[in-house]
């Protein structure tokens, strides 16, 4: 088992920090493009945790999960950007708070 140059705890700390930043962005941003970017940050934070864990235990599973997350993120961006276009066309704005027709 090969020891990492950076201790696992540090990597996990960065990863959870990134995750929290993404989550806060998700909650606080109104612009849908920033929301998508925050989602990207959260996905990559979890991917980072997988890589670090895989490297720590010398298992390939971490990298496989990373590949999966990468493809999910790509798909999500494809769909998400399509939605962004639609939102812009329908509401003439990118503010998500205006797209609240499903209330109540």
């Amino acid at each position: 088992m090969q020891e990492l140059a950076v201790p696992l705890n540090h990597v996990l700390l960065v990863s959870s920090l990134l995750f929290c930043i993404g989550m806060l962005g998700l909650m606080m941003r109104r612009n849908i493009i920033f929301i998508l970017m925050s989602l990207e940050v959260m996905l990559n934070a979890s991917a980072l945790a997988f890589i670090a864990a895989g490297a720590h235990w010398g298992q390939p599973d971490g990298q496989i999960m990373f590949m999966l997350i990468l493809s999910v993120a790509a798909a999500e961006v494809a769909v998400g950007l399509g939605l962004v276009l639609q939102v812009q066309r329908r509401f003439k704005t990118l503010d998500m708070d205006n797209a609240n027709r499903m209330r109540g």
Binding site: M27, I35, N100, R101, M102, G104
Partner: protein, 615 residues
Amino acid sequence: MSNAIGLVPLLPLLSSLLLMIFGARMTRPMITLLGVGSVGAAALATAALAMEFMANPQPIEITLWTWMKVANLTSGVAFYVDGLTLVMMSVITGVGFLIHLFSSEFMHQDASYARYFAYLNMFVCAMLVLVLADNLLLLYLGWEGVGVCSYLLVGFWYTDRANGRAARKAFIVTRIGDTAMALGLLLLFTELGTLDIQSMVGAANAKWQVGDSLPTLACLLLLAGAAGKSAQLPLHTWLPDAMAGPTPVSALIHAATMVTAGVYLIARTHGLFLLSPTAMTTVAIVGIATSLLAAVTALMQSDIKRILAYSTISQIGYMFLALGVGAWTAGIFHLMTHAFFKALLFLGSGAIIHCLHHEHNIFKMGGLRSRMPVTFWSFMIGSAALAALPMTSGFFSKDQILLQAYQQASIGPWLWLAGLLGALLTAVYSFRLVFIVFFGNAKTEPDREIGWAMAIPLTILCALSMVGGYFALPLAQVFPTASADHPAHWVEIVSIGVPLVGLAIAYGLYLGRQLSAPSWTTGVTGQALREFWFSGWGIDRLYDGLLVRPYDRLAALFSSEPVDRFYSAIVDVNQTLHQWLSSTQSGRMRWYIASMVFGLIALLGIAFNIAPGAL
């Protein structure tokens, strides 16, 4: 002819149904022809029946069809005609026809002309069923039928709320008596096993002894029913208010026929009442008490129809007195003469009201003697008969009642004395009415003359009121013969003289002014007493406070549905929760995310607290 008995009630029924269905499309002459003609035809059929009965005076029984057959109760639509029935039928169809004829002019301007005759014909039919019925169940059908028609006709001008209230009062108060009567019928049926009147009386006489408690109870229940229908104490309060209806209705229903149904009922079941001296005495006391109370009240009234209404209550009291002392024939005789002269008085008052812009207050009338001669003579003759002045029809019937009351075994002389007092008051109030309305100065000018359709019934009833006392009623077979003894001559002379004294007093007080009211009557006590009597001895107010208002309050309490409140609280809680929760569905994605995050944090916190070692 006996097969045609069914025709007598059928004719008014058919006419009533036709008027109900097609009345709106008929012209007025057609409605008149149908409404008045059907009762006229019924009167002719009754006359033919009476001829045949006179030739061969045997009771006729005829069963049209079986009405219901349940277990051992068989009730047919079956008629029984004897002398008593014939007298009643003649009064109903004869006087009824005259009043229908009068109505055709009185109601001619009314928008609901067809509806009026439909109700009136229906009433005649129900009343005929009542008197023709050979069993108590069919009688009860007629009994309720006349009640409904009375309700409809009292509230005929229903757009005025007061009329509707009067109609409701008439219906509800009589209903109290009807309920007692229904209980009486049930009691008789369970004890005797039949409701057929003739066989029931036979069975009662076979089963019970004179003075047993069960027949007393049954008779008292029947008496309560009779008191409700005939406006006797303590259920008399509806009749004065029932004057809200058109005046011919008051003449037909509330003077001549329906209110005498109670008298008919007691006379019809007299075999039962003879088993119970207690019930008989009660009948007599109720009658005389009502008679006096109503006579005093009549003396105070100012509304012409209310005077006549109280006078009707008072005269029916005399009939009850007659029944109570066993003077059956005299009671029925008075029923007939009363039907003549009271219908006459009511129609006369109808003529006055018709010609005087619907004026009811006697103090706004006056001097009508020369302006309305037919009506004046109608009132003179009617009042003379009502006051029982010698040689009028009322004299013969009332005299018989008083003389037979005197001979009652236990309290006879007292009943006689009270009856005399009533007769005196009757004479005073009836001539007070005549003197105030027809003499003195004119206060309101009549704006039209009465036509022949009003004048003819008045004239015929005048004649009947004069000669009605000479009719020999075919009642000998129906009732046990009264004792032939005569009380001492002075009793008769006093009985004859008292109404004349009453006439003299009324003349002195209201026309000649030789007498003046004693000074105390204008004082505080006199005024209070007058108001008390004017309001009918405060009985209406008593019932209002004792029964009507507590009931209203109870109804108001329950109309807020106290039981349902618990269930509606459950609904309310659910609705509030629903509103809270649905308001969280705001459609704002950021809120959803935030609540998911905080929810997750909370869940994780809980999980750590419960199982700190899990992670």
